[in-house]
Amino acid sequence: MSQPQEKTAASAGEMTSESPVEATTAANAPSGPASARRSLLPGNTLLRHLVILAVCAVGAVALLELTSPFRNSQFAVLAYYAIAAGGLTVLTGLNGQISLGHGALMAVGAYTTALLLGAEEPLPLAVVFLAAVGITLLLGAVVGVAAARLHGPYLAGATLALAVGLPGLALYYDDVLGGEQGLRVQSPRAPEWFQGFIGFVSGNNATTTKWLAYVGVICLLLTFFLLANLARSRVGRTWRAVRDEEVAAELAGIDLGAWRVLAFVVSAACAGLAGAVLGVVIRLAAPSGFTIVLSIALLTAIVIGGLGSLLGALLGSALLVFLPPFVTNLGADLGLNNTEAAQLAPFIYGVVLIIVMIAAPAGFVGTIRLRWLQARGKRAARTAQG
């Protein structure tokens, strides 16, 4: 390796010197046919993803119908966290950009939804969601152009400014955006066909809570399906190339800036959809729901789950949603009073984060994949010897 090459690596900062190798292991899933193992899944990527999508959809219906209404409401919350985390994990895990501004992008989606559903004759929900995605996408493009020129901590700083600044707009234009108290979202009621569907599947009550959980889960599955296809396509490979070795990527004729902007736009669109789902599930779009804490929670979710992995984003989001109430109830059962039990939840979450960082720096999915690769490597070595 030549002298100048090492200098570039060092000047890019410690953050990038080693990270692509281990931290983003979860992002580097082998393409189906490339790994020469037998599988029941079809070799064609699109077909394989369609099969997985169908299986997940059936599983999701079963899960939602077998669990209580409260669990349904938690799955709705999980859905919007996971959609946003999925978008963020594509940005950070596949393309190596960091964003602390995704909470603000979600706010754009939520406010768009609130304004459109608050109209005299609201548009169909799907149209409203598409509009929310579209508007967030436009903002993402603008931010992405700036973000493409920045790296590591500078990019984090710029997107942090977005997270802090954007909710301020809601306060400044308080006659339209409702100020500190936010806008109420007129969540749509369950349509007729949905009640028929639930009646057919399980005979449970088709409540609004259930309908919103289905809306969230449908959006989640669609988003993950599209993201998974994208990650396995030429686009995903190009993003990875940009992430791992800028110079090599540029020599191969890749326009770094344009691909970075594209990654940011895709990620922002996911955040917009997540915000829209959040709006209808929470029934409120208020600045206090989109603080910097939300952006950081999303980041911790994808880091814990495994950078670059959609499954990891889902697992990390599940931890965000299910861990605090679980810890709180556990604390209450152990004889703590409610206040102490409530204070236990953030503490335990912090402890989990630290343990994961020490014991499994590649996150859940990344670590398992690493172990699996190591085991396969050893097996292969043994076979070669024997």
């Binding site: 306060l171 500190e180 108290q181 029934r283 409120l284 409610n338």
Partner: protein
């Protein structure tokens, strides 16, 4: 999940309920309430011997100081009632959860309370932005939403939100009392307003303007979360305001005081009840100034409003009762504070509502009972509630007082009024009440 397996589950559930009921009936019921008959599991959250109440409070985060003490007070009062046999021989289970004053989390914890914990009713959910986020849900599910711990006018809207009731005097009538006092006692004052930028500040301002619109020389607002209020205080000073009315929460009372101290600005301060707790503001002042200001002496001489007796009035029989409840409480830690007294008052009102709802209450029955009997509930509050079939507004009166050290001296008798500019302020002719001997209210069930 097939239809037949579900039917089996239902059958089993039905069998369990029936046998449980039979067991209760067989065991016989010792106490028996006023109506005679047996205790039944008359609605969600009610069993023969328990009744489940839920609430949300900021137990962690920025709003936790002070407010997180409210449920500990309420909890202790419920324990006090339970130790004396409960309401109609039912033990009150009080479940409260943390929302960190974040509406997104409020939605989740209230979902959990209603769908998972299956509470019978809500009591004292705290905060305007937070509780607003769950108004539609609670009313959609038909859960009685009693005594919201906020003075917003939102809770008094029986047509749209038939299950929601306010409790404390709303910010608009508080503004009227303050405006009236200023017009009578400081007719030449140049008044500046320091308002929180939401319903709290806006409703208060609406009440003030009916009396002192021509005296107001400057209106400044702050947004919770932005801790720099220097510019606003400087603007009030520049406008020459010599009396500042502040509709602020305790932390912003402290921040405003510190900003004024830095600017050498010494107006007559007039604080709304919410932001005037001398003990809490004092500790916040010490905290924010990193020890440079050690107690609430900055608040000395400030004017405020009160509607329930406070912890410093140790010769008040109600405060003595709250002290007794606190001393006997098994979960009590630390001193009795005004926030704990607030929680006890809300719990006291809730016990009255449950009594009025009768031996086997339903959710709709509880709402009807508060509408019918709530106007006559007697407690430590200085003036009655404004509950009726058409109104769900809370306490109707306050008195103006001056803060001296950690106590306060009254400046006016108890005044009562109602919303709207055309309702005048009158002196209350209610006699001060005393608590019942055993410290537990005794309200007759409504028909």
């Amino acid at each position: 999940m097939t239809r037949s397996s579900r039917r089996l589950t239902r059958l089993l559930a039905a069998a369990t309920v029936t046998s449980a009921l039979a067991a209760c009936g067989g065991g016989g019921d010792g106490g028996g309430g006023g109506g005679g008959g047996e205790n039944e599991a008359s609605d969600i959250g009610v069993t023969a011997d328990t009744i489940r109440i839920g609430s949300h409070y900021p137990l962690t985060g920025v709003a936790a100081p002070g407010y997180s003490e409210i449920p500990t007070g309420a909890q202790c009062y419920f324990e006090f009632v339970n130790d004396a046999g409960g309401v109609y021989d039912r033990q009150i289970e009080f479940i409260y959860r943390d929302d960190a004053y974040n509406p997104t989390q409020t939605v989740q914890v209230v979902n959990e309370l209603v769908l998972q914990d299956e509470i019978f009713a809500m009591m004292g959910g705290l905060g305007t932005p937070t509780h607003r986020a769950v108004l539609d849900f609670l009313n959609g599910e038909g859960v009685p939403d009693l005594f919201v711990a906020s003075g917003s006018l939102l809770w008094d809207n029986p047509e749209e939100y038939p299950y929601t009731f306010g409790w404390q005097p709303d910010y608009e009538i508080e503004g009227k009392f303050i405006g009236n006092y200023i017009a009578e006692n400081f007719p030449d004052a140049r008044v500046g307003l320091f308002l929180q930028d939401d319903d709290f500040g806006e409703d208060g301002r609406a009440g003030l303007e009916g009396y002192i619109e021509d005296q107001i020389v400057a209106v400044e607002t702050y947004v919770p979360g932005n801790t720099d209020v220097g510019p606003q205080i400087a603007a009030l000073q520049a406008a020459g305001a010599d009396l500042v009315v502040s509709f602020s929460v305790p932390s912003y009372t402290a921040l405003g005081q510190l900003a004024a101290l830095r600017l050498g600005y010494q107006p007559q301060w007039f604080y709304s009840n919410v932001g005037s707790d001398p003990t809490l503001v004092g500790s916040l002042l010490a905290n924010f100034s990193e020890g440079a200001v050690s107690d609430a002496s900055l608040l000395d001489g400030a004017i405020t409003t009160e509607y329930i007796p406070t912890v410093d009035q140790t010769d008040n029989p109600w405060v003595q009762l709250w002290q007794r409840v606190w001393d006997e409480c098994s979960t009590a830690e630390g001193e009795l504070t005004n926030f704990r007294i607030y929680g006890m008052n809300q719990a006291y009102t809730t016990v009255q509502a449950l009594q009025a709802a009768g031996q086997n209450p339903t959710r709709d029955g509880l709402v009807a009972a508060v509408e019918q009997a709530g106007g006559d509930f007697q407690g430590s509050w200085y003036a009655p509630f404004r509950y009726s079939a058409d109104r769900h507004a809370g306490i109707s009166g306050m008195q103006v007082s001056r803060i001296t050290g950690n106590t306060s001296e009254e400046l006016t008798p108890v005044l009562i009024t109602d919303n709207g500019e055309d309702v005048d302020i009158e002196e209350s002719d209610n006699e001060p009440t005393t608590p019942p001997e055993d410290g537990i209210p005794d309200v007759e069930p409504v028909e």
